[in-house]
Symmetry: C2
Subunit: 223 residues, 2 copies
C-alpha cells in the first residue's frame, strides 16, 4: 500500500529526513515548486529509490513525470516529526557546549526549546543566556515534575553525567540528549540519544588516513 508510518521506522531514514528538510527549505527559498527524487538524488548524492522510500514514510504522494510539491513535502516532514508542537527541554551543564546549545537559535525550527538551564557553579547560576535562566542544579528534579518537562539535555563533563541523568529520571524525564562522553545507565522506558562529536571526527580522520594510504577511495559520508 502506501507508505504510512509502520511504527517501525528505520533509524537511517530518521536521520536522513532532516537533511531532506534543510535541502527542501533551501529549494523553496529559491522559488522551486516541484522536485523529483532524481533531482534530489543528484544534489544529495543519494539513490532516488531510497529517497522515495524515505519520503513515503511521511505519507507524501508524488506524481509520475513530475515529482513532489516542495511545500507539501516540507509540511509532511514537519508533521511527521511533530515540529509544530513545541517540545520543551531542560539543559544541564552551562559550559561551552551547553552555552552553544542554549544560544543556538536554529532548534525552534525543529519544535525544540530549552526553557531553563541548570548548573552547580555559582559563577553562572542566576545568569541568563538567550533568555534562558541558569538555576541551581538542586532544583532540577522538582522543577521537572512541576513543569512537566520530559526532555533533558546533558552537557556536563563526563563524570557528572550519570548523576544528572538520575536526577532527571527522578523528575520524570523520559528522553535524554546526551552530549557528555560517558555512558548513561537508565531504566527501561527512558530513551537516550548520545551525541558524540568524537565519533564523527574519528570517522572523518580515519577516512582521510585510509585515503592517504591507499591512494584513492570513493567515500560517501552519511547524515
Amino acid at each position: 500500500m502506501n507508505g504510512k508510518p509502520d511504527y517501525i521506522i528505520p533509524e537511517p531514514t530518521l536521520r536522513r529526513l532532516p537533511r531532506y528538510y534543510n535541502y527542501l527549505k533551501a529549494l523553496l527559498n529559491r522559488g522551486r515548486e516541484v522536485v523529483s527524487c532524481t533531482h534530489i538524488g543528484k544534489d544529495l548524492e543519494l539513490d532516488p529509490p531510497q529517497i522515495r522510500k524515505d519520503l513515503a514514510y511521511t505519507g507524501i504522494r508524488g506524481v509520475p513525470k513530475v515529482g513532489y510539491q516542495v511545500a507539501e513535502l516540507i509540511k509532511n516532514i514537519e508533521d511527521f516529526f511533530g515540529w509544530n508542537n513545541i517540545d520543551e527541554a531542560f539543559l544541564v551543564g552551562v559550559g561551552n557546549m551547553g552555552r552553544a546549545l542554549i544560544d543556538y537559535k536554529g532548534f525552534s525550527r525543529y519544535g525544540f526549546k530549552i526553557i531553563a538551564a541548570f548548573d552547580n557553579d555559582s559563577e553562572v547560576i542566576g545568569k541568563t543566556f538567550n533568555d534562558v535562566e541558569v538555576l541551581p542544579l538542586s532544583k532540577l528534579t522538582s522543577l521537572c515534575q512541576r513543569m512537566n518537562v520530559h526532555i533533558g539535555v546533558i552537557a556536563t563533563p563526563d563524570h557528572a553525567a550519570q548523576e544528572v541523568a538520575d536526577m532527571m529520571i527522578a523528575g520524570g524525564i523520559i528522553g535524554i540528549w546526551n552530549f557528555a562522553p560517558a555512558e548513561i545507565r537508565t531504566p527501561e522506558g527512558v530513551i537516550v540519544q548520545n551525541e558524540n562529536l568524537a565519533a564523527g571526527l574519528s570517522v572523518l580522520c580515519k577516512k582521510l588516513q585510509m585515503l592517504k594510504q591507499s591512494g584513492k577511495i570513493r567515500q560517501e559520508v552519511r547524515e
Copy 2:
C-alpha cells in the same frame, strides 16, 4: 577477522570505536586491568560478538577466559585512528558553535587541534579564544597552502557553507567537518563529514513520540 585492517572498515564500527575508547578510559581510571566482551556488552548494551568484531579491527588479541588488557586496547584504538599524530585544522565561522568547538579541550584526546579560525566579521577578527586567533576570511586559502593544513571545520550559517568549502578546497583541504545545515558540493577526493545536530534531536523526539503513541510499553514494569 584476523586483526589486520582490511582497508574497508564498516562505518558503524568506526562510530562505535570512540565509544569503547571513552568507556575503556573510564575503566582504566577505576583501576581495571582486563575486561571481556561480555562485560563491555553489559555496560554498553551491545552484543559481545559485535564488540569482539569491532575490536578485532584494531588488531587486538584477547585471551580466552580472561578478555583483553584494557591498557593495550586503549593503545590499539589510539594507534588505529592515529590519535598520536596531531591533525591540525582550520575552523571557519566564529559564532556560537564555532566558539564551542574552539573552546572544547577534549579534541586533543583525538589527535585533533584547531590552530586558527577565520571569519569576516570585524567584531571577532583579531580576537583570540583558547589560544586560537581569529583571522580574516580572505586569508583562508593562502594560509591553508602555506601551512599545509588539510582539514577544515565549517561552522558558518548555511548560506556561507558552499563558498567557504570552495575556498578551503582551493587551499588544498581534503577533509571537511561540516556543522552548517547545508549541502556542500565537492570534487572527488574530498571527504565531507556532515555533523547534523538536528538529526540526533529528531531521532530522539520521534522515538519519544512513537513511545507515547504506541506505548503503554511500560505497563508490565509497574505493578
